[in-house]
Amino acid sequence: MANIKHRRELSDTTLAMLFIAPLIIFLFGIIIYPMATSLYSSFSIVKLSPYQINFAGLLNYANIFSDQYFYHSLLVSARFVAEVVAITTGLSLGIALFLNETLPFRGVIRAIILLPYALSEFTTAYSWRWFLSSDWGLLNGILYRLGLIKEYIWFVNYEHSVEWMAVAYSWHIVPLCAFFMLAGLQTIPEQLYMQAKIDGIGPVGRFTKITLPFIKYAVLITLVLSTFFAATTADIVILMTGGGPGISSTTLTYYIYEVVFKSFNLGYGAAISWLLIAIVMVLATLYFTFLTRTGRAR
């Protein structure tokens, strides 16, 4: 008898299918199925205890367009996203340029700068809420001690609650983007700068002609990330401002939260949430096309 060990051998396809099957089951079971029910809810009137769902066609979607609070929250979201994107891009570029210099205590400085990103959105929101408090906030305390103010200031007021929220949120995500840009900066060969200096190109010229082209991709990534993070976050609003004072910082995500989980207007809330998803998807497609083009052009 031949001494051949018969082992059960899987073909490539069988192994691949075996390995991928759990993922597909999970994707359909815990994401696609729930989202499909959510889509159906958005076309229905949904009541809880006892559960009742009645198809209502386009009613919810039609109502959105006559809802002044929806327009308000859409504008607040747009303002919030624009501010986060602007602050994040500017600041992370600055931090990346700084970290790219030769520094003493480099490791320590890097770790401290990375710290806000290591914190949760949750801690970010509460830290800033405390920091800006008009009763016992540290920012007021410092300004007071320095003699710059006589009375404590109410920072997170009707006019500027969105701005402060944008600052707090940017604080949280800037380190991530700064490290993306730093990775881009570190690919620039030192000789290019030397050559430019010899050719008599000034610092501004060196920045636009050498630095920018090398970090264009990282800047784009920052734009994408900060847009998505800011457009989809609800945590920072719930925990830092509660949409207020009044409704001054009610973003679209917070408005959905209120409609669904405070007024229990489930079908309507689902409809607005699908509108948000549609906006995000359109942005995603735009960015994706843009990124792959730039990626190839690199």
Binding site: I30, I112, G141, T253
Partner: protein, 287 residues
Amino acid sequence: MKKKLVLIVVAIALILWSVLPLYYILIAAFMWETDVVSRPPQIFPTNPTFSNILRVLGFPAPGITGEMLRPAGYPVVEGLTNSAIVASTVTLIAMAVSVPAGYVLGRYNIPRRNALLMLILGTRTLPPISIVIPYFIMYKTIGLLGTHLGLIIAHLSLIIPLITWILMGFFATLPRELEKQARIDGFTRMGAFVRIVLPVASSGIATCAIIAFLTSWNEFIMAWILTTGSKAQTLPTVLATMFTQNIGLSIFAVANFLATFPAILIAITLQRHITRLRIVDPLTQVI
């Protein structure tokens, strides 16, 4: 010389920017309530105490005048336990699903691969507030509201696509010859994966496990909606409830400290490994 001075000033400004907002809520955990609300606030605690921490953890402790105070009586320890249960279960399941899937997506050419990738990417862009709506309605009708299982399932919907995507990129960067050599050495395809690929990939897999754990540990909105006030509520949920109840600031600061500290520790250890994963892809939306 002038440049050096500028760099020092910038360094100090950046350190203040990173630390100041967090600073007060951290030291308030070790301060007496009257000191926390004093005006102007103390930059350094003049009269530090461990009483708040002891009382939050469920022990009686002396107050500022020396009399014994009862434990604070908030379910902080319960929240910590729940957070640990949920986050570790989520990590185990997510890794069991994502490691094999990430391996195949990163190294095999399977039919409809692109469609599957677009699906994973699409789910990554869903706002958490949108995913939690159907879960809330479903759980309300089938009684999964306020249970560990319910929150675990919801967290998996966020974490499996994220981890699969990162692992796919990671497996794709490993040398092509790994399996070829293993097959020549007489391993089956399964054997090559278990005995050769997994050990080589272990550091990347460990990093992804930490990312999965942290994401679940830090997650707020789903936990807040699906577990508030129940026996399964996680630490962030307990804290948010405490905050709405107008409790003492120093007590709240302690709870916040407990929620933040493990995460910071893990993140610092993680920092060293994260570059190795090369998660610089824009659409991964890391951590």
